[in-house]
């Protein structure tokens, strides 16, 4: 009996701590990035699973950590305004595929790098810019900044800036050029679908 009470008490404390950690992660930018990098390293990069499973796990993490609609609107810019609802849906789906597959191709190149948060500063309306470095085993560092925004369900990443190069600005200028040359958003969607099909990870190493 005593044992059951003790066990339940421990369980309650454990759950409470997990909830507190989760609550911190929802609003504390440093905790959020630390959690994001820990999950990416432990559950994806270092996990003993094949690339297809890693990709599936990354897709979940990506969906839970990034505000994909806000990113998509920024990336398409003017074209987002003009796009029909179905074109927007098509873009959201294929853009997610392209990013997930692009990142999954990098999984194999992982050689023990870690992320260290250096500090934060306010950014935009309800946001934070998190300054961090990726450190490799030889001690070389790469500067990475994360733009975060507070949403109802928690913090969300809207941009990653690597050595000054913003992911969303670079995609935007790439896609704007494709839209201009290939006659509109349908041309871009065709190209993106092609890219997604080519980069689809297979079980083969």
């Amino acid at each position: 009996m005593m044992r059951t009470i003790l066990f339940s008490a421990l369980l309650i404390i454990g759950v409470a701590q997990a909830n507190a950690a989760e609550a911190t992660m929802k609003t504390d930018p440093t905790a959020f990035i630390n959690h994001f990098s820990q999950v990416s390293i432990d559950d994806i990069l270092n996990a003993n699973i094949d690339t297809v499973e890693k990709t599936a796990r990354f897709r979940t993490v990506f969906n839970d950590s990034f505000d994909i609609p806000a990113i998509s609107r920024f990336v398409l810019g003017r074209a987002w305004r003009r796009a029909s609802d179905s074109e927007k849906q098509d873009f959201l789906a294929v853009f997610e595929d392209v990013i997930v597959y692009t990142w999954s191709r990098r999984f194999k190149q992982y050689t023990g790098q870690t992320i260290k948060v250096l500090g934060t500063s306010p950014d935009g309306d309800t946001g934070t810019l998190v300054n961090s470095v990726i450190i490799d085993l030889a001690g070389q560092t790469i500067s990475v900044q994360w733009r975060l925004r507070q949403r109802g369900e928690g913090l969300r990443i809207v941009d990653i800036i690597i050595e000054g190069i913003s992911m969303v600005i670079t995609y935007r200028q790439d896609y704007t050029s494709v839209i201009r040359q290939n006659g509109g958003i349908q041309g871009l969607l065709t190209e993106l679908r092609k890219q997604a099909a080519e980069t689809l990870p297979s079980k083969a190493p």
Binding site: R78, R81, R151, I161, I169, Q173
Partner: protein, 286 residues
């Protein structure tokens, strides 16, 4: 080969200006100012020589395929990674004058001090620059060049330019590059009086192999993740230069186009729901 006008560096500069002249004949057609959207995109790209630049990129990629990539792959097979890092360190070290002069020209006293101390430490303890010891002593590397100095002095970027071997540049950056490499880089002076062509070829060729080899993984990644690699590289080059000019100060919010900001909070990354709600509210008759 005793007349200094025959110097390969000057020759290179001559080729560069000849390229530029030819390029003027290959301008992208400027959209009429009445077509505001297309006109704004044109202004933003600041790439009036785009068709010319695109063909220069093709030539560069061709040179990579037939010459630089095979050389790089042999080099990477023969010399293991620590050796190659030593070579890159040494090259950085003997090109210190470029960074030092430009630190001073930008009035960056403490950065100039760092550059000088790094040079003294790495040239001695670091065995002629092969080892970047200073980095572990709290003196991390930074680079400066005349292109950055001109930017700090308020000189505009000028049009985007792409050169075979050198890669992406701009009117301002190529000017700075020429002065840095012909005037300030002591290695390019070696034997200049006697004009041994082989030294200039070996030196600048070796430099290109080192730089291209180091940049290769990142550029391949950029290429694989893009659709229009030319437009992507142009964007990435400009953003990276902007960061170097800011000396790594935090990135500013991406420039706003008025219509991204329906809720008027000055933030292009508001949630779609917020923006949508504000559009609907704005549409309601008062």
């Amino acid at each position: 080969m005793t007349v200094s006008i025959n110097s390969p560096s000057l020759l290179k500069l001559g080729i560069v200006s000849a390229f530029t002249m030819f390029a003027l004949g290959a301008c992208a057609s400027k959209p009429p100012a009445t077509d505001t959207e297309a006109f704004r995109a044109y202004e933003q790209n600041n790439d009036p020589l785009e068709p010319w630049n695109r063909s220069m990129m093709q030539i560069d990629q061709g040179l990579d395929t037939v010459f630089f990539n095979p050389v790089i792959s042999v080099y990477q097979t023969v010399v293991p990674k620590p050796g190659r890092r030593g070579v890159s360190n040494a090259i950085r070290n003997f090109r210190t004058p470029i960074t030092l002069v430009n630190d001073i020209l930008q009035g960056e006293g403490s950065r100039a001090g760092t550059t000088l101390r790094r040079f003294l430490i790495n040239s001695t303890v670091g065995l002629f620059g092969l080892f970047d010891i200073a980095q572990h002593w709290g003196l991390p590397y930074h680079s400066e060049d005349l292109g950055q100095t001109l930017a700090v002095w308020g000189v505009g970027e000028g049009p985007y330019l792409y050169f075979p071997i050198l890669g992406p540049s701009s009117g301002r950056d190529i000017t700075g590059y020429a002065v840095d490499n012909i005037g300030i880089d002591i290695m390019s002076w070696v034997g200049r009086a006697d004009n041994p062509l082989w030294w200039q070829v070996v030196y600048f060729g070796g430099l290109a192999v080192d730089i291209k080899g180091n940049a290769k993984p990142a550029l391949e990644e950029l290429k694989a993740s893009s659709i229009d690699y030319y437009a992507t590289l142009r964007s990435a080059y400009r953003q990276n230069r902007a960061k170097e000019i800011r000396n790594s100060a935090p990135a500013p919010l991406p420039g706003l186009d008025d219509f991204y900001d329906d809720d008027g909070d000055g933030d292009p990354f508001s949630s779609l729901e917020t923006e949508k709600a504000s559009v609907q509210t704005a549409a309601l008759p008062k």
